[in-house]
């Protein structure tokens, strides 16, 4: 089979990526997936002349390797989706961005409604017909302080038969703006892919940048990045547990967890000035070293926060009214999660034993990583419990990192980037696997930049989990995934 093999944040000369006939491409990709590979991404790139180059990356999580291959297509090609369901959203994106038709794809609905295409909201939505069937349309402006998106529930009585999710309202041209870089805006554009994942996306960007320059950060810079990433994970997970409590009307845990989230954001702010960690992680290292007194203080305060979190979250597990609402609600079965290529805590809650920190680490988590555990039931309860376990593992792991943060310079200058190369940079963000891909031109500038927030893969899982649910459970199911609109819309 024609693949170029690489790994996380290791560049490949673009010439080393095989370009094969479309039938061979399709056969090779499907064979690799049948053999246990995972479709990491499938994207279009501008090809020669009229052609669009399709590039597929297959992750071999057991070996920590990534296989890459490509093909050139014009107008149409036989879709992978019928044989590989996890390609479905990628192929919708390819159709929208390049006007290529993946033939045999069940429904090429718009993904983001970019400029020049149909007006947002004007699309063929899946709808169910029949007596007593009705449709509930919600959004783009929702009831709370939430990002915009459009949801259509096809219901029979209270029961949801299918949920149609239509996004794109946050589309602001991030990937396009990154082309031609790196420049003074690039890092900040990466940080704001999803504001609640500033450390995750900034790290993915910096790792990509350093990979292309064939430089690695010092052990200490990596340890400080790990602190930033794990604080982000803890803050968001505890916030989500509070929001889940709020969605079932259990206000004590909702208040405590909301405040505890803020406590973790405040710790982040004390280390770098910004509650979201803006400007903290930078190419070559990190903006600011942390002194040993500060590290000790951080450890003490994290341990305090951990105790308060345990106390607050325990209320959830011990309240039968909460458990009754969480258990068996919004089940995402293991097979569905695997077929759809779901990532992150949502996948682990459905029993998928995969975490970039362990399976495909770059320098960041290569030396050590937190304990990785998985759940089984795939319901709201499993996703809530998964978050709590990840908080506990991260707290324990951080205590070790704070004891031994390594040494070395925290900021180093980065020379120019490799020309004519392609690189994939993966980070396990709090929502799951973040992928940044760049292709450089002859001058070492970004000819193409692709961002894959975990939400891109996971939105469809929410639609799946809602099938057969009472419509009143939507807020709860939605919050149990807590996906990003801006990270999807880019």
């Amino acid at each position: 089979m024609a693949f170029a093999i690489t790994s996380n944040a290791i560049p490949l000369p673009i010439a080393a990526v095989p370009v094969v006939e479309v039938d061979a491409f399709r056969r090779d990709v499907l064979t690799a997936i049948v053999a246990g590979g995972r479709l990491l991404l499938l994207i279009g790139l501008p090809g020669d002349g009229r052609a669009t180059r399709l590039l597929a990356a297959i992750a071999d999580d057991a070996r920590g390797a990534i296989a890459v291959c490509s093909t050139d297509v014009t107008d149409a090609y036989p879709a992978l989706t019928p044989d590989c369901p996890s390609a479905h959203y990628f192929e919708r994106e390819i159709a929208e961005q390049y006007g290529i038709e993946p033939e045999g794809h069940p429904w090429l609905k718009p993904v983001r409604f970019p400029l020049g295409g149909p007006t947002i909201g004007e699309a063929d939505f899946y709808s169910v017909a029949g007596s007593e069937i009705h449709e509930v349309a919600v959004g783009p402006v929702h009831a709370g302080v939430i990002e915009p998106g459009h949801f259509r529930f096809n219901c029979h009585g209270e029961r949801v038969i299918h949920l149609e999710i239509s996004l794109g309202y946050q589309h602001r041209g991030v990937e396009r703006a990154l082309r031609g870089g790196p420049d003074r805006r690039s890092l900040y554009l990466a940080e704001t892919v999803a504001g609640d994942t500033t450390a995750g996306h900034a790290t993915a960007y910096c790792q990509l940048f350093e990979g292309l320059a064939e430089r690695e950060c010092s052990a200490r810079a990596n340890a400080l990045r790990v602190i930033a990433l794990e604080l982000e994970r803890i803050a968001n997970h505890i916030g989500d547990l509070g929001a889940l409590a709020g969605d079932v009307g259990f206000l004590p845990a909702a208040s405590y967890c909301g405040r505890l989230r803020g406590d973790v954001l405040n710790l982040t702010a004390e280390l770098n000035g910004s509650r979201l960690g803006r400007g903290w992680i930078r190419p070559g290292g990190i903006a600011r070293d942390i002194g040993s007194d500060e590290l000790r203080e951080l450890k003490r305060r994290l341990s305090d926060a951990g105790r308060n979190m345990r106390n607050a979250v325990d209320l959830l597990w011990k309240s039968s009214s909460v458990r009754a609402r969480f258990e068996n609600t919004g089940v995402l079965r293991h097979e569905a999660a695997a077929d759809l290529g779901i990532v992150g805590p949502a996948a682990r809650a459905s029993g998928i034993d995969r975490d970039t920190r362990r399976d495909l680490p770059a320098a960041l988590y290569r030396a050590r990583h937190p304990t990785i555990t998985v759940g089984d039931n795939g319901d709201v309860f499993a996703r809530a419990l998964q978050r709590w376990r990840e908080i506990e593992h991260s707290l324990g792991f951080l205590a070790d990192v704070l004891d031994d943060p390594g040494s070395g310079t925290t900021a180093s200058a980065i020379p120019s980037l490799a020309p004519d190369a392609v690189i994939l940079s993966l980070v396990e963000g709090w929502r799951g696997e973040i992928v940044h891909l760049a292709v450089t031109d002859a001058a070492g500038h970004f000819a193409h930049y692709k961002i894959l927030d975990p939400s891109f893969r996971n939105w469809f899982a929410l639609a799946f989990a809602m099938r057969g649910q009472p419509i009143m459970d939507f807020p709860l199911c939605n919050k149990s995934f807590n996906l990003s609109y801006c990270g999807h819309d880019l």
Partner: protein, 251 residues
Amino acid sequence: MFKTLLARARQGYRTAGFPAEEPGLPALFRGRPELDPTKCTDGCRQCVDACPTGALRVAEAGVELDIGRCIFCEECVAACPEGAIAFTRDWRVAASRREDLIVTDDNRPRVDALGRELRRLLGRSLRLRQVSAGGCNGCEVEVNALGNVVFDGSRFGIEFVASPRHADGILVTGPVTANMKQALLITYEAVAEPKLVIAAGACAISGGLYRSHPEVSDGIEGLLPVDLYIPGCPPHPITMLDGLLRLLGRL
């Protein structure tokens, strides 16, 4: 039930003392910038060239920093060889007028309280409909924090409501994407008169990092009449609370 009460005792009282007390911001907090144009050397544009959002300009009277565009990243501070720019820990950066966001050596942002009649109509409550119009969800994170027990906007009657019909105004975040423009304008229309418009964050004020992208409208300037600008990327909840309380004449 007993466990819940015990937990309540353990978790304690956590509401911030602000505004009666100082807000206790971290030592590294990046607030209102201060400029000293007398330090600038002729022809130097290093800060201007370093700024990711084009927030700096060298005018006749010296360097100016538009905090309506600024993302408070301090690239300019690092670039300036003369130390002419510094970010202070002052959280009070909200302003009533767009031009007051242009920080020079003697211009600083300030908020004028609403007129007496409007304040009488609002009474002791301010209900806002938040509209997220593009952006990165960073501002939404901090707007949500305004509702938690620490910042607790509801102490001052400040709450976010589900329907524009129940709102006294809208608080907009994001650069106003082409895909959200219509929904934003419809939401604004749905709020009963008299109504307020608050622009929170660099994106809503000026387009922020996405300024001049064809996919966005460079914020709400020119689309809606703005009563309060709250700069930041994102603004700290204390900055938002401070701006809102000043608008209501409570500070």
